[in-house]
Amino acid sequence: MMRSTKVLFSLSKNGFNKEITPALTRLQSTAAQPAPAESKPAGKEKKMNKEVKPSLSFVMNMFRGAAVTDQAIPYPYTLSSEEKETLEMLVDPTEKFFEECNDAMKNDAMEKVDETTMQGLREMGAFGLQVPAELGGVGLNNTQYARLVEVVGMNDLGVGITLGAHQSIGFKGILIAGNPEQKAKYLPKVASGEQMAAFALTEPSSGSDAGSIRSRAVPSADGSHYVLNGSKIWISNGGMAEVFTVFAQTPVTDPKTGATKDKVTAFIVERAFGGVSHGAPEKKMGIKASNTAEVYFEDTKIPVENVLGGVGNGFKVAMEILNNGRFGMAAALSGTMRYSIKKALDFATSRTQFGNRIDTYGTIQEKLARMAMLHYVTESMAYMISSNMDAGSKDYHLEAAISKCFASEAAWHVTDEAIQVMGGMGFMKESGLERVMRDLRIFRIFEGTNDILRLFVALTGLQYAGGHLRELQQALKNPAANMGLILGEGTKRARRAIGFTKGGPIEGVHPNLSESAMLLGRGIEAFGYCAEGLLMKHGKNIVHEQFLLNRLANSAIDLYAGLVAVSRASKSLTENLPSCTHEEKIARVWVNEASDRVQLNLTAVKSSVSQSNFKDLASIAKDLCDNGNIVAERPLGI
């Protein structure tokens, strides 16, 4: 890196001349090299040759070391006064309904949502919150939906998944990718809850690797319908749904080459089409009230009008659906955390041990404060993303992925700590936390495992950065036309190489948080530098370096979390809200600690000790797998 930087530095001093060629070759030798395209995270083809489309996503641009805060600062508030008024009218009745008409403990024990509650939910309009009013729904936008979903999350995650599997993914495809006929036909009945919907993608041999599904839909000879065969597992609402969004391989012929290959297509499948059956409800660790079942399709005839989003576009449709609903998870889990934290606070402020109330002890104080920090960040992410989406942004999928990872892990940790604060009481069913703990475990797994999402964030960001790198390389081929870019890059890299930080804090932050803004600015720069370094060193092969990618992803998560916290606290300070000082403390501590973690993670990406550790870790894993059991000899030899 140093060598190429030195060359560029001299470039900027002497203008363009013969030095360009050595620079060019030097860069090219360390740049993206063609590598065999092997098994990458399902379908996320990392083509380093893609054109760079400018993005307003903060996370995307972090990979270039740039702080693009258009969507983040000031903290967005996109509700019109009418939308706000509407929302205010809806929150209380929703809370009241859940407090009075839903018994989460009973639903968990019976492993189903009480029928009276289901009927109440239907009448409440809870099944079609985002369906337009003309089609029988409540017509809420993303932010309003997030606020109501928060209420659900606070009360009963089992019901939350029943509702979410139905509208957040079950029929969301029709809402975002359906044509007017499909919308008019299906949305009214699912919005009223008369018919339940489900999202059927996962198969026994295809979980994270969604592109490898085996269900097939073959077009009929007369082209009027498809015949679907396949089996899906772990489908929420699978045992009750009438309307399914099913993903299956369909033979697609390339018009130019005439070659036929399988591509995934999304279909709207009605149980009434025939050949649809389901298995018994799965016995689960948590969200027991939510129905999870296998669904089988045997020669199910699907009219060709029910293709959703176009033949061969199934994978894209699936990703869009999941992307679109992710913010809801962060919102729901904010509600869950609020519940857990309240339980912990009630206990900590009334329990006395060793002569003092336990909330006077540092250990407990740290737990409570950290719980509140995790909640604050999650809540800030949820509403920032929902507001971005409402404002029409299309650049939010990395942020959404991060929010899902963060929220699910934060909620698990918060509830775990709440149980700890409550001691033995926390372990007892009647305290109401053990059920929540069990319910929360799945959130790190479904809708894209956190592991996959981390790789997705890292690789998508790197692809974007890689694109920019290529842009720079191309600029160097034609420096006359691209002097600005070259000079800009040159000075930037030179400063980094010398050790000068850009000196740029994030802009637009309240003065009280200027130090945090500085830390974030530096963190982003170091992050971009690290990302670029990885691309230079590994090129396309970076896809295989999961140890490194995970550290990059964790840094990205910490930096985005820091940004949202600082943005929201800044807004509160500017508006002088009663809680602004409290929020300022949260944001400051978060960024202080996050920037340390980022430094650690980024160093690990480059340090030789870490690299050696990773090699050893991989080797340990291999030994274990080869042995099928613990490898180390027993200490006693017996």
Binding site: M89, P93, M124, G125, G137
Partner: protein, 254 residues
């Protein structure tokens, strides 16, 4: 014969809130505290809406007196099925001094203006527990009253009302027009569903001031003091009945 029903609904501190006495001891803390519709008034609205569903009533008008937030209460009534609302604007400061007599005068005037044939209110509000508005409204209108209603039935030109009284249940007949106050067991109010709340936004709420109705809000009552009830003292366990009797005598209770 289709009735026009006027229903009074009051915005009060939510029943689940922990009440705190104000430092000046002249009232309770209301700032930032959760408010909702008086539960007995919800029952009143529910009854009126049910009458409409049975085609006994043709229109249900929800009335609330109070500051701007009173509109939220009216909207809840509209979401439950009331047809339109009337908001009698009274600023927060004056709300503290609002008495049942004032409200009764307002309701009486509105009943006349709107040509209502039935006025239903909750038997009492959970903040002041006055249990006076229904009675005074009837008196001002010179209409019969049926208070503490736990059952309401319409017979030709009359209402048959079952009342909850100390001794049990009493059934009376009242001629229309009449004033009814709802008791707990009259019905179980429906939940305002989200679609209905959205539809309620389109229903009209007329605004007016007490003086538009010729009602003057001069005070007849003065709050002297508001204090917490005395904290409950610990009890003592006694061994037998004789000791119990002795202790009660010592305490001057018997």
């Amino acid at each position: 014969m289709s009735l026009r029903v006027l229903v009074g609904c009051k915005r009060v501190i939510d029943y689940a809130v922990k009440i705190r006495v104000r430092p000046d001891k002249l009232g309770v803390v209301t700032d930032g505290v959760k408010h909702s519709m008086n539960p007995f008034d919800e029952i009143a609205i529910e009854e009126a809406v049910r009458l409409k569903e049975k085609k006994i009533a043709k229109e249900v008008i929800a009335v609330s007196c109070g500051p701007t937030q009173a509109q939220e209460t009216i909207r809840t009534a509209l979401a439950m099925g009331a047809d339109r609302g009337i908001h009698v604007e009274i600023p927060a400061k004056e709300m503290e001094k609002l008495e049942p007599l004032h409200v009764s005068k307002i309701l009486a005037k509105l009943a006349e203006q709107e040509q209502a044939e039935l006025v239903i209110v909750g038997k009492q509000a959970i903040d002041d527990d006055s249990n006076a508005t229904a009675q005074m409204t009837a008196a001002l209108l010179d209409w019969p009253q049926a208070t503490f209603a736990s059952k309401l039935e319409k017979t030709d030109g009359e209402l048959e009302v079952t009342r909850e009284v100390d001794g049990g249940l009493e059934t009376i007949k009242v001629k229309l027009p009449a004033v009814v106050s709802s008791d707990l067991r009259l019905n179980e109010p429906r939940y305002a569903t989200l679609p209905n709340i959205m539809k309620a936004k389109k229903k009209k709420i007329a605004k007016m001031k007490p003086k538009d109705l010729g009602v003057d809000l001069a005070s007849h009552l003065e709050v002297v003091e508001v204090v917490d009830p005395p904290t409950r003292e610990a009890g003592i366990k006694v061994e037998d009945v004789d000791t119990l009797v002795t202790k009660l005598k010592d305490a001057g209770r018997i």
